[in-house]
C-alpha cells in the first residue's frame, strides 16, 4: 500500500517532481564537477605552476653547510661535488613520477676572445636522454625546466660540441646572436669555439650567463663526472603541520607519522628521498616557490569549496520551495490521512520518501552531467581531462541526503501544522 501511495503521489505531481529533480540535477552536477576538479586540481595546478621552474635545489652536503654558515654563494666553493652518474636515481625514488624535470649545473668563468671580458658560464643538460635502471628512458634538462625562457634560435645539443645558449644581456655585451660563434678561453688555457644555437630571455640573473653542454664544462674545468648543484621540479602536496615538523627533523616523528609523511608528496619528503639516493647530497626546498604553490592551491580549493556550498544551498532552497508547494497542494489529502489514523510520522515518511526518491533520481542524472562538466572544464582550463574520482560518489550521495533533508525541513514543519479538523472542514 505504501509503495502504491508513493507511486500514486509521484504520478499525480510528476511536473513538480520533475522540476525538483531538475533542480537537484543542476545542483549536483555543479557540485560533482567542483569536487572532481578539486580532487584532481592539485596535480593540474601543480603542473601549471611547474612552468615557473624548480622547487628543489640539491647541493653537496659540505657546500650546503658552508652555504648555511656563510650564506648563499658558497655553492661550489666547498670543493665537493655531486656525481653525475647518480642522477638517474632521482627517477627511482618512491615519488619518481612526481619528479617532473631536473638539470645539473656546473659553473665556471670563461674569457670571451672578442672583447676579452670574463663571463659566467654554466654547464647543464638541455634535453638529456637518461636510461633508467628500470629500463625506461626519460628526457630531462633545461628545455623542460625553464619553460618560460623565450629562446631565439634553438636549444643546444647535449654533448661536448653541442653549442652554446647565451642569455640576452650576455649576447648583447658580446655582440653575438644565434648562428654566430662564441670563441672563449677556458680555465685550462685552451681556446675553443662553439656555435651560438640560440639567445634566450629569462628576465632574471641568468640573462647574463652562457649555458653550455655539461660535458664540455666538465672537460674545461677538469671535473669529469661531477656537477656542482642540481635543480629539480617536483609535483608536491601543500605543506601541513606534519610536513613542517618533518622538515625540521624526520626523526621527531612517530613511526606512523613518518610513514604518512614519507608516502605523501610533501616537498620535504621528496627532498628526503632525494638525499637517500644521492651521495652526500643536501636537497633544499625553494620554500618561496613551494609555499606559493601551496597557497595558490589552497585558495583555489577554498574558492571551489565555497562555490560548492553555495550551489548546494541554492539547490536546497529551490527544493524547499517545490516541496512546500507540493505539501500545500496536498493539504486536504494529508488531513484525510491524519483523520483516518495516520500519525505525523506516517505522513512525513510519505513526503520524505517522495522527496528523497526524486532527489536521488535528480542526483544520479546530475552526477553524469557533473562528470561531463568536469571533463569540459578540465579540457578548457587545464588542457587535459579531469579524471573521474570514485570518492565523489559517496560525497555526492551525502550531499543529496543533506540537500534533500535541508530542503524538506520547512515542508515537514508545515505538514506537522496541518490539523485535519481545519483542512477537511476549512474552519
Amino acid at each position: 500500500m505504501f509503495s502504491r501511495m508513493i507511486r500514486g503521489g509521484i504520478a499525480r505531481q510528476w511536473r513538480k517532481l520533475a522540476l525538483m529533480a531538475l533542480a537537484m540535477a543542476l545542483g549536483t552536477s555543479l557540485a560533482v564537477a567542483m569536487l572532481n576538479i578539486m580532487l584532481d586540481v592539485g596535480d593540474k595546478i601543480n603542473r601549471e605552476l611547474k612552468a615557473y621552474g624548480a622547487n628543489l635545489t640539491v647541493v653537496p652536503r659540505s657546500a650546503a653547510l658552508l652555504g648555511d654558515i656563510y650564506g648563499a654563494g658558497a655553492g661550489e666553493a666547498g670543493g665537493k661535488y655531486l656525481r653525475e652518474d647518480e642522477l638517474p636515481r632521482l627517477k627511482t625514488i618512491f615519488w619518481a613520477y612526481n619528479i617532473v624535470d631536473f638539470s645539473p649545473y656546473l659553473e665556471t668563468r670563461l674569457r670571451a676572445e672578442s672583447r676579452g671580458t670574463e663571463f659566467p658560464a654554466v654547464g647543464a643538460w638541455f634535453r638529456k636522454k637518461l636510461d633508467l635502471p628500470t629500463g625506461e628512458s626519460v628526457v630531462v634538462g633545461l628545455a623542460g625546466l625553464k619553460t618560460w625562457w623565450k629562446v631565439d634560435g634553438n636549444w643546444p645539443e647535449d654533448g661536448g660540441g653541442g653549442g652554446a645558449l647565451l642569455g640576452r644581456e650576455l649576447a648583447r655585451s658580446l655582440g653575438l646572436k644565434a648562428g654566430d660563434s662564441l670563441v672563449f678561453d677556458g680555465p685550462d688555457g685552451k681556446r675553443r669555439s662553439l656555435p651560438v644555437t640560440g639567445v634566450f630571455a629569462g628576465d632574471g640573473a641568468e640573462d647574463g650567463r652562457a649555458y653550455l653542454p655539461l660535458a664540455l664544462v666538465q672537460e674545461i674545468t677538469g671535473r669529469a663526472g661531477l656537477v656542482g648543484r642540481l635543480e629539480v621540479s617536483a609535483l608536491t602536496t601543500p605543506e601541513n603541520d606534519l610536513a613542517r615538523r618533518a622538515a625540521k627533523s624526520p626523526a621527531s616523528l612517530s613511526a606512523r607519522e613518518w610513514e604518512t609523511w614519507y608516502c605523501t608528496a610533501y616537498i620535504s619528503s621528496i627532498a628526503y628521498q632525494i638525499e637517500e639516493v644521492l651521495t652526500d647530497a643536501r636537497a633544499k626546498p625553494l620554500l618561496q616557490v613551494s609555499e606559493s604553490e601551496g597557497t595558490v592551491l589552497g585558495k583555489v580549493e577554498l574558492l571551489m569549496t565555497l562555490l560548492t556550498v553555495l550551489v548546494l544551498a541554492c539547490t536546497a532552497l529551490a527544493l524547499s520551495n517545490l516541496v512546500t508547494a507540493g505539501v500545500m497542494e496536498r493539504k486536504t489529502e494529508t488531513g484525510l490521512l491524519k483523520a483516518i489514523g495516520a500519525t505525523d510520522a506516517d505522513v512525513m515518511l510519505l513526503v520524505a520518501v517522495e522527496t528523497f526518491l526524486t532527489a536521488a533520481a535528480g542526483s544520479a542524472a546530475g552526477y553524469g552531467l557533473g562528470l561531463f562538466l568536469s571533463r569540459s572544464i578540465g579540457a578548457t582550463v587545464f588542457g587535459t581531462a579531469i579524471s573521474v574520482n570514485p570518492a565523489v560518489i559517496p560525497l555526492a550521495a551525502i550531499m543529496t541526503l543533506l540537500v534533500a533533508t535541508a530542503g524538506s525541513l520547512p515542508a515537514m514543519r508545515l505538514l506537522l501544522s496541518f490539523r485535519p479538523a481545519q483542512v477537511l472542514h476549512a474552519k
Binding site: 500500500m1 505504501f2 499525480r12 486536504t332 489529502e333 483516518i340 489514523g341 505525523d344 479538523a421 477537511l424
Partner: protein, 238 residues
C-alpha cells in the same frame, strides 16, 4: 441530559469551544447510547461541525469533558487522539475526501493500512456491503458522487468502529443516492452501530432515533426521530 453509564458510548459534559471571541459551542452536554442513531441539526454557524470535530477526536474542546467508550478524551494529546480515531471512529465526509490516485478498493484499504494490515478481501467485502464490488478497480474520478460517498462509507466501516460520524453525508448527492446512503445507515444501525449524522436536511435528520437541535453553540432542543416518538423535548440538554 442523558444519564451517564456503560450504556452510553459518548458523553459530553459542559463542552465549550472558543475560536477567539466566538463560542462555537457553549456549555453543551449530551449523551449518545450504544447502537443509537442520532442526528445533529441546526443552521450554519450553530456549531454542528465543531461538535463533530470534537466527538470525532479531530479537535479538543476549550473546556468541558468528552467521554468516549468510558475514556476521557478531551485532554488527550494528538497521538492518543489519532489512535482513538483510528480504532473507534469511522468518519464520513460531505466532500468524500478520497485519495484521487487510489482505486475504490485501495481507498478502503488505506484505512486498514493505518489501522493494522491491508486486506483486499475484507475491503472488497466492505465495498460489496455498499453495493460497489463491481466498481472496486475504479478511480474516484471514474465514480459518481453517490458511488464516491459509498466508498467513503466502506472506508469508515472497514475497521469496525464503535461510532460512525457522518458530516452532511448526503449533502452532495441526488435523491436516489441519498436514499441509497440512508439505507446503508439503516442497515448499519440495525447491525448495532452507533451513528451520529450531522445534517441540514430534515428528512435525513428525521431518520434518526433522536435529533439534537443546535443554535448558536447551544442545544436548542431534542426531537425524537420519525417513527419512534415524534415529539420535541423542551429540555435544553439531551
Amino acid at each position: 441530559m442523558g444519564e451517564s453509564g456503560p450504556d452510553n458510548i459518548l458523553e459530553l459534559i459542559g463542552v465549550t469551544m472558543d475560536y477567539g471571541q466566538v463560542k462555537a459551542l457553549n456549555d453543551v452536554s449530551m449523551t449518545v447510547r450504544r447502537g443509537e442513531w442520532l442526528s445533529i441539526m441546526g443552521p450554519s454557524g450553530s456549531g454542528k461541525t465543531t461538535m463533530m470535530n470534537i466527538v470525532g477526536c479531530l479537535d479538543r474542546p476549550t473546556s468541558g469533558r468528552v467521554i468516549l467508550d468510558g475514556e476521557e478524551i478531551s485532554r488527550l494529546g494528538g497521538r492518543a487522539l489519532t489512535t482513538i480515531r483510528r480504532d473507534k471512529i469511522g468518519l464520513i465526509f460531505q466532500q468524500f475526501h478520497l485519495a484521487p490516485y487510489l482505486t475504490a478498493v485501495e481507498n478502503v484499504m488505506l484505512a486498514q493500512y493505518y489501522h493494522s494490515l491491508p486486506d483486499e478481501e475484507e475491503a472488497m467485502a466492505a465495498l460489496s456491503r455498499v453495493g460497489l464490488s463491481e466498481r472496486a478497480g475504479h478511480l474516484p474520478s471514474q465514480l459518481s458522487g453517490g458511488e464516491q460517498q459509498r466508498v467513503c462509507i466502506a472506508r469508515a466501516l472497514i475497521n469496525h468502529p464503535m461510532l460512525i460520524l457522518a458530516d452532511e453525508p448526503t449533502g452532495n448527492l441526488d435523491e436516489a443516492n441519498e436514499h441509497m446512503v440512508l439505507d446503508i445507515f439503516r442497515q448499519l444501525h440495525s447491525g448495532g452501530s452507533a451513528i451520529i449524522v450531522v445534517t441540514h436536511a430534515h428528512d435525513v435528520g428525521a431518520r434518526a432515533e433522536r435529533v439534537v437541535m443546535l443554535e448558536h453553540g447551544r442545544i436548542a432542543g431534542i426531537v425524537e426521530g420519525r417513527g419512534i416518538h415524534g415529539h420535541r423535548h423542551d429540555d435544553a440538554h439531551a
